[in-house]
Amino acid sequence: MKLKMRYIERRLAHAILLLIGASVLSFLFSSLAPGSFFDEMKLNPQISPETVAALRAQYGLDQPLPLRYFHWVKSVLRGEWGYSFAYNQPVRSLLMVRARNTLLLTTLAMALAWLIAVPVGVWAASRRGKWEDQLTSASTSLLLSVPELVLALGLLYLVIRTHALPVGGMVSSVFDRLGLWGRMGDLAAHLIVPVITLVLASLPILIRHVRASMIEVLHAPFIQAARGHGISRTRLLFRYALPAAANPLISLFGFSVAGLLSGSLLVEVITGWPGLGPLLLEACFSRDFYVVVGVVMASTMFMILGSLLADVMLLVVDPRVRMDHP
């Protein structure tokens, strides 16, 4: 138990270092930038240059980079995460809602993708070289070469043409007047397009990895032995082989969070889901610097959460890891 705690402590320290690294990197990049939020105002004849300079001073944009970083860290510790110029409020209040929406979308998509990928991958591995396996690998190749952007647009087109589902946003305009079940249904209807896009986009990679690690395990002598004992096929695959193949898959789970977040950004923008993606895009256009940094930090935290979760799962599932990491 004590060993486990030390391991988790080390992971936490690593996570904090990662967050610091990401924020320093963001600030360094920002120092390369020639413009700022208030530069657009300079073009406006009704705003005097003095006002712009005063605003810059008020938000601390005239200070040198290290000082600005220091102030930002202080504001993070206060729980404000900097200040949004465009929304005129602390970044954190903006981020919380958006991050919750993104989290809802990505968690659902991830759960669904794994639920589909594991059985399909196991099945393809068990039928290795047969037509079922070839069909699976052909369809994963095909899916892999359709970018998320195209997937999302295509699905949106289908949905709009068939009038099957509401399009755009997270809830309908009548949401507030609905009962609890009505609200759930409305939310679910809005979730379908973005979730299906994300699932389709992440499936091929997951299926390929499940198949590959299962094939490796199916060659192992203990599987031959189990087969020799007359254990049924399904039981053999899911009870014996799958746990042995789980290790690389759990690591993949940690890595796949990054891809999922990137995909989610795109899908959110296209389907109008009010998550971190549209917020980041708007902030890019209006040069709302602290919002950009905030969103990058939020996505980094999701990543860290994902890999932390993967580590804990590994710790639980694989006894070898507990030995390797004292």
Partner: protein
Amino acid sequence: MTSNRKIAAAVIFLLALHLAILLAGFVAPYPPAAQNRDFPYVPPTRLHFVDARGHLHVRPFIYQYVARPDSLYEYTEARDREYPVHFFVQGSEYKIAGWLSSHTHLFGVDAPAQIFLAGTDNYGRDQFSRILFGGQISLAAGLLATAISLLLGVCVGCLSGFYGGWIDESAMRLAELFLVLPWLYVLLAVRAFLPLHLSPAQTFLLLVAVIGTIGWARPARLVRGIVLSAKSRKYVTASRGFGASDAYILRRHVLPHTYGTLLTQAAVLVPQYVVAEVTLSFFGLGLSEPMPSWGNLLANLQQYNVLVSYWWMFAPAIALVLVSFGYLIVANAFHQRLQSGSI
């Protein structure tokens, strides 16, 4: 099909695609910016083989599209006159790769008819031509950014793996950071800090530089691993004993081991970076009109009525999928060969 045949087929397919895009001026019937304000959103021209009298034509022909009276953007075929499709016709002047100028186009029809294989956009510009010309921009962005990533990867990976110590330690920590962050977030964040309004050429170079630089980490890690294993070989020790310099050893004995991996990485990265350019331009953060790129061609679909009514505006997506598919097959084949140790 044997794996060799498969690779050959995929490579030939990719080469043909690249060649068609390189020779866009010749393959495309019209210049990318030529507008027909009277013909916005014309659907793709249909090729006919059987005429109104039921005669079969060997040479395909088309009918001219005319706007349906009192309708908005609806067209019918004027069946009174047939326009056969001719090959190697004379048309507007173009330049191939910036220097070879010519008037000959692969195909075309007689005036006043026009052939729009993939329909037209809101200015009545021929989408087929724009996809080909846009491909030049998108593919060039992908290829150049890949070159930057691989170059950075080789430099950092070699230094890191060959010299080790604090260089290795700090470079690999930084690489970890880049690998762990979701690439699209980083891409947008970096783009956010760079100027929005630039000349097209500047935007293009900036985009390529940003996309290529962000992707340095994976190739660097891979190269480092290969360098680490290569530098402990006996022939490296031997050559050092003969007084070879570090540069010589790297060039002669270490780098050749990385070629297979670099080739595979290139095949993986090019489509990714093409998609990166397309994504940024789609969002309006990349190349903008009038320069065509697959991203800003697809950006038309952001308008609700275009997405719903004009399905042929999806045509650039097909080009994008074809390129991704070709590279994917090649990358898979390279990867398999690499693992069996024959590159």
